[in-house]
Symmetry: C2
Subunit: 397 residues, 2 copies
């Protein structure tokens, strides 16, 4: 981070300042909405003012018929195909979005926004609550996937785009895709929910609850007011990330990538400082994550996933969420994904079929577990390209 420090400011205070600035004044574009465009949240409050940060790639055509929305996962952001301003790394879907890539920015106008509850410029717990001048912290109610999608719909309106050619995303991004298709069936021509589920499983809720408990157990969390107090629950958030990260990898990939290999030593050290490569790797995942992500956002965004239950919102029958839909769907899952297993994707496919939707489904062989949707998976990319080409022909693009 580039925050300037002065002698009276600690490093964490400077970081807190930088975090708040990032939340209010991100490096990307921002759509700001005032009292005339409040956002009504499922949690029962009406949010105004609020804002949504986004990036775009490619050019909107004259008919405004080539817009694509890509939706990010738990710890993603609007930088789908551009350099992350904090880490300097390529965008999280750089392999999928770009010129000549499956979501071809030479053909499509791609929008990628930070989710509501996030920390990269869309209103979330690190954003300033204008009523108090302080960060929202836990004064926000729990955000839902439907709230995130409502915010995205307001952005699309703001951009003057009547409907989306495609909504695509993996994991929590896939939940948003499903919510879009359900809530705005006439505004989604094609939908690609990848490595996702129509409701969060008990096991996933359990893992995220462990992470949240690790965050709130950290005394530097300060009951959620750490940004005001110039602290940050680094250790707790790091443990949360470590726990979640295990679920994103397959047992096979952990075995192949690390096995029982030792880190920087020839023999076991008989101590607790991390003998194994897998330990160093996880610690690195944890410690680098806390430099780019807000702890309260982790609580909110993970909670949004827990709350997602599209069947529950439709009388317990998932097919009802898609009744009469004209959207065409491409559902994909990965064989070794145990966080969002194939079973969850089949449930979606069966419901779509029961609703009479056009749906194609592919279970992709991969060793890489849940994270496969972010990685170089040629079969996924080929299927997505084929689906998009076919949908584009159907739309006359």
């Amino acid at each position: 981070m580039s925050a300037t420090t002065d002698a009276t400011e600690t490093a964490e205070e400077a970081t807190a300042t930088a975090r708040r600035r990032m939340a209010d004044e991100p490096a990307s574009r921002v759509a700001r909405f005032g009292a005339e465009h409040p956002l009504v949240l499922d949690g029962g409050i009406t949010l105004a003012p609020w804002q949504i940060a986004y990036e775009t790639y490619g050019t909107l055509n004259a008919a405004k018929s080539n817009a694509v929305l890509v939706c990010h996962a738990l710890t993603g952001d609007q930088y789908a195909a551009s350099t992350h301003p904090l880490t300097g790394k390529p965008g999280w879907w750089d392999l999928v979005v770009g010129p000549g890539k499956p979501i071809d920015t030479d053909r499509f106008f791609v929008i990628s926004s930070n989710v509501l509850g996030g920390c990269m410029g869309t209103t979330g717990p690190a954003s300033t609550n204008e009523a108090t001048g302080r960060a929202w912290g836990l004064d926000l109610p729990v955000i839902t996937i439907a709230d995130m999608v409502r915010a995205q719909a307001a952005l699309i309106d703001h951009l003057g785009i009547p409907d989306l050619f495609l909504v695509a995303g993996g994991s929590m991004g896939g939940m948003q895709v499903l919510q879009w298709a359900s809530a705005y069936p006439d505004r989604v021509f094609a939908a690609a929910p990848i490595a996702t589920a129509a409701s969060h499983s008990a096991q996933n809720i359990a893992f995220y609850e462990v992470g949240r408990q690790a965050v709130v157990a950290d005394p530097d969390w300060r009951e959620g007011r750490y940004l005001d107090e110039g602290t940050f629950p680094r250790k707790g958030l790091s443990v949360a990330r470590m726990a979640a990260h295990i679920t994103y990898m397959s047992e096979v990939s952990l075995h192949q990538k690390f096995g029982r290999r030792l880190q920087d030593r020839d023999r076991l050290g008989f101590g607790f400082d991390g003998d194994f490569q897998i330990e160093s790797y996880l610690r690195h995942q944890g410690s680098s994550f806390v430099d780019r992500f807000d702890a309260n956002s982790y609580l909110y965004v993970s909670r949004a996933m827990d709350y997602f239950d599209l069947a529950g919102d439709h009388g317990g029958v998932l097919a009802n969420a898609f009744k009469g839909t004209k959207t065409r769907f491409c559902v994909m899952s990965f064989t070794t994904d145990w966080a969002f297993p194939t079973r969850d994707s089949r449930t979606i496919v069966h419901a779509l079929a029961a609703a009479g939707a056009k749906v194609s489904y592919a279970e992709i062989e991969s060793d890489r577990g849940h994270d496969a949707f972010l990685l170089d998976e040629p079969e996924m990319h080929a299927i997505l390209s084929g689906f998009i080409d076919s949908a584009a022909r159907a739309r006359g693009l």
Copy 2:
């Protein structure tokens, strides 16, 4: 806990006193070894004095040929078939050990000891280091499964028992069974390693590393000196237990037992206080665990599992660990156990077969994941009974 408090003592200080007393003067029997019987640890130190706490059930016969050792898992103890002195609950293998049960105390003399590194009376980090008068804390080197088994062998010697009719246990208990059969082939007539592995997987190391990081991140851990300072890393240890506990259950059992059902409410609360039953359950698992277990013991005993690699100890060839063995083996695994999957048991069975050992193997259908070995699983109990009967006949018992 029954520690008396006085006005100058905080609750955690009283607890610390009780924890140290439990470690030094447990409610069970204790074998104490002085300088004449040191324990040489894999970590390179010679431990003396040291002690091992144990319980016994049944009667040793005149020929001393009916002794059975049961070995406990990570958070188990010597109270296999007797009431736990802190929780008041039945022993962890009460369904397996007792009169008329698979390990029949009417026929066998059953020994159950607390592992080295534990906190229930065998020397571990909460025990007093006589050299300093303080708790060992992190001054102990990492303990190995082989160290645990060496301590058990010393106990068996102390009890005047030449060899064991059976060694049995699940999970980390199964690791001890394998180590016994490998290190003392002439002292083990029959061996039942259940839901275990000959080496800890990268995924398991990863989950335990998350737990350890949660413990050491807790400022009340005090670099491991919390017993001296009258604190206890309750929150960190609780998070560690929650993370591990998820791995002991199957996705199916979590879904069946909890699903997305809400706890004490009709609708979502839009807050972070635990809407779902699975969250309440995990929090309870965490908070009750910290009342009965020592945080540093959790570090040591989990680390012992990580270090276990029986093939690695034998030139990378697991069969070499059992070369020429006359022990008969009964290996069991459970279909939904993803912490110690069937694959790990098959590896053991193949190595035993390659070593020419007598081995039977059963993969038991169960919805209950890893914890099945502790639960009412009639097929496991029937197979274990049959194996024991057959081995008893072979031994003329």
